[in-house]
């Protein structure tokens, strides 16, 4: 029993889960039962896949020892590329391909510059944050085109499931999260990612193509961010050039709350997912708790720190439990 508790608490993603449950209970009480109402859940679950998909990519990249600040801009760029192409009459599927290819190219450039010139990914992707945002504005010419009406919304945004609780995007999110999670734990590629982020010289010495592994992670991260952006635009119906601003920091925060180390090598996709849920729950719950506009950011900041502090405290407690393993 004690041993199980110890093993459980030592996993940071599970500690985050405890916190999540506590917060849900808190908000449920605070909001007089509205928090877990079907309507509210539908709201949370609608936006969750978008930040969630981005967080999956960011988490994997962080485990690989790198960092991506450009995800928020790529989030806006990919749907804008699609919208502009579709406005010119390109069919959805081709536009989608072009969008994803653009994301992959951005991820590649991020990775290539970072590795080839041995510069911190913080800088490469900070630069890319500006570049991708600028490109989004340039290709839209300042005025985003309207989306055509024959989009495959049934594939991404229609409500499904019991009580129409989820959108299709949620299904995508779950499937991709499970696949990413399996990739990290079961495949040799996941092993390489973890080794590359854990201790680069060792990974290199063991013959892992670390440059290619990192570039692949950068590309994956960008593509997931772009895909998430497309889903948001399909949901909201308009490709604004300003969407996704500031999401890069939120995504990193979610990954860290879920137990991923900024220094690489440690973390799990599940943790990132839980972190993303936590962030959405906090945001939503605070509105329901009627926090004043001026204090809102305070509460967000406080709860973010609080989540990580509790996580760290639980892990410390767990370590102190004396059971031989």
């Amino acid at each position: 029993m004690k041993r199980l508790l110890k093993i459980y608490m030592e996993k940071p993603e599970l500690a985050a889960l405890v916190l999540l449950v506590l917060l849900v209970i808190l908000f449920q009480v605070q909001s007089g039962g509205v928090f877990l109402s079907a309507n509210n859940l539908r709201g949370i679950l609608g936006i969750l896949p978008e930040i969630g998909l981005m967080v999956i990519g960011v988490t994997i990249l962080m485990i690989c020892g790198e960092f991506d600040l450009s995800v928020g801009s790529v989030f806006a760029l990919m749907p804008m590329v699609m919208a502009v192409l579709m406005a010119d009459g390109t069919p959805f599927i081709l536009a989608f391909g072009a969008g994803i290819a653009a994301c992959a190219a951005i991820g590649f450039v991020n990775g290539f510059l970072t590795i080839n010139y041995n510069i911190p990914s913080f800088i490469t992707t900070l630069g890319m944050l500006f570049i991708a945002r600028s490109l989004t504005i340039v290709i839209s010419g300042g005025f985003p085109p309207l989306l055509p009406n024959d989009l495959p919304n049934w594939l991404f945004t229609v409500f499904v499931g019991p009580g129409d609780l989820f959108r299709m995007s949620f299904v995508w999110f779950v499937v991709i999260a499970v696949l990413a999670s399996l990739m990290m734990s079961r495949t040799n590629f996941g092993n390489w990612i973890r080794a590359t982020g854990g201790f680069l010289p060792a990974a290199q010495a063991m013959g892992i193509p670390t440059a290619r592994v990192k570039i692949a992670c950068f590309m994956l991260c960008s593509m997931l961010a772009g895909f998430a952006g497309m889903i948001q635009v399909l949901r909201l119906g308009s490709p604004l050039p300003s969407i996704g601003e500031g999401w890069e920091l939120q995504a990193v925060a979610a990954a860290v709350i879920g137990g991923t180390a900024l220094s690489g090598g440690i973390g799990a996709v599940l943790g990132g997912v839980i972190g993303a849920i936590l962030i959405r729950v906090i945001d939503n719950g605070l509105v329901l708790s009627q926090v004043d506009a001026n204090w809102f950011k305070f509460a967000i900041g406080f709860l973010t720190i609080f989540a990580v502090v509790v996580n760290s405290w639980l892990a410390k407690r767990a370590k102190a439990i004396k059971v031989e393993t």
Binding site: T187, N188, M206
Partner: protein
């Protein structure tokens, strides 16, 4: 005499402001075990790092089986059959022993373009065997390498190299941190390389160990080879002299 398996010609290495190798030439013959000794900073690790692809030479050539080769990465070296134990641990501290054992060479249940699903069971079983084979007693293959003692870590590195025996085996001060029994195991292993048809390069500061298990002894000083004799043609005193 047979042709050398590895032949190094006029190797130079500059680290920014340091001329670490100053024209090293060395032939290593099949199935022989070479003991490489020398002062601190003589350039031993630099030489073998070049052979195992961790560093690039600034000048000079390497021939394998008489053919010139370019070793640009550790992967290249491995593909050429060169397996290395590094002076500083090449383990990922945040990963388990079993995963560390197989980094880059994971047994796959299923593969596609080199990627696939790892066989966790096989990894656990083989690493348990390999570690026992190196004389180590460890709790479980799932323990993190970062939580091992210095000697235990070194032991895992040795177990890994012993498991993936290759054509050429380079060991850079492998017995550092190791306890008496484990050290003996390593020396025995190096001595057995010949029977396994493996060529060995063994670096150590312990001359006793070198004489115990090597056929030929190469001494380096200040980036140059200063002595290169068969073990039976030299003595500990001669070697201590040149250093």
């Amino acid at each position: 005499m047979s042709h050398p398996i590895i032949s190094v010609r006029n190797l130079h290495k500059w680290y920014s402001g340091v001329h670490a190798l100053k024209g090293v030439s060395l032939d290593i013959y099949p199935n022989e075990t070479v003991g490489l000794i020398g002062d601190n900073g003589a350039g031993k690790s630099t030489l073998i790092n070049i052979l195992s692809g961790v560093q690039l030479a600034s000048e000079g050539e390497i021939h394998l089986d008489g053919k010139p080769v370019r070793i640009r990465s550790p992967r290249d070296a491995m593909d050429l059959g060169i397996e290395t134990i590094y002076q500083y641990n090449s383990m990922v501290p945040t990963m388990s022993i079993a995963r560390n054992m197989f980094i880059g060479r994971e047994p796959l249940k299923f593969r596609l373009f080199g990627l696939g699903v790892m066989d966790h069971k096989q990894m656990a079983a083989e690493s348990t065997d390999a570690i026992a084979g190196a004389g180590l007693h460890l709790r479980s293959p799932d323990a993190l390498v970062g939580e091992l003692s210095g000697g235990q870590r070194q032991g895992v590195a040795i177990a890994r190299a012993m498991h993936f025996k290759s054509r050429v085996m380079i060991l850079d001060e492998p017995t550092n941190h190791l306890a008496v029994k484990e050290t003996k195991k390593v020396i025995d292993f190096v001595r057995s390389l010949k029977d396994l048809n493996i060529t060995g390069i063994f670096i150590s500061h312990n001359i006793h160990h070198v004489f115990e298990c090597c056929d030929r002894i190469v001494a380096m000083a200040r980036g140059e080879v200063v002595l290169d004799k068969r073990a039976e043609d030299t003595s500990m005193d001669e070697i201590l002299d040149v250093l």
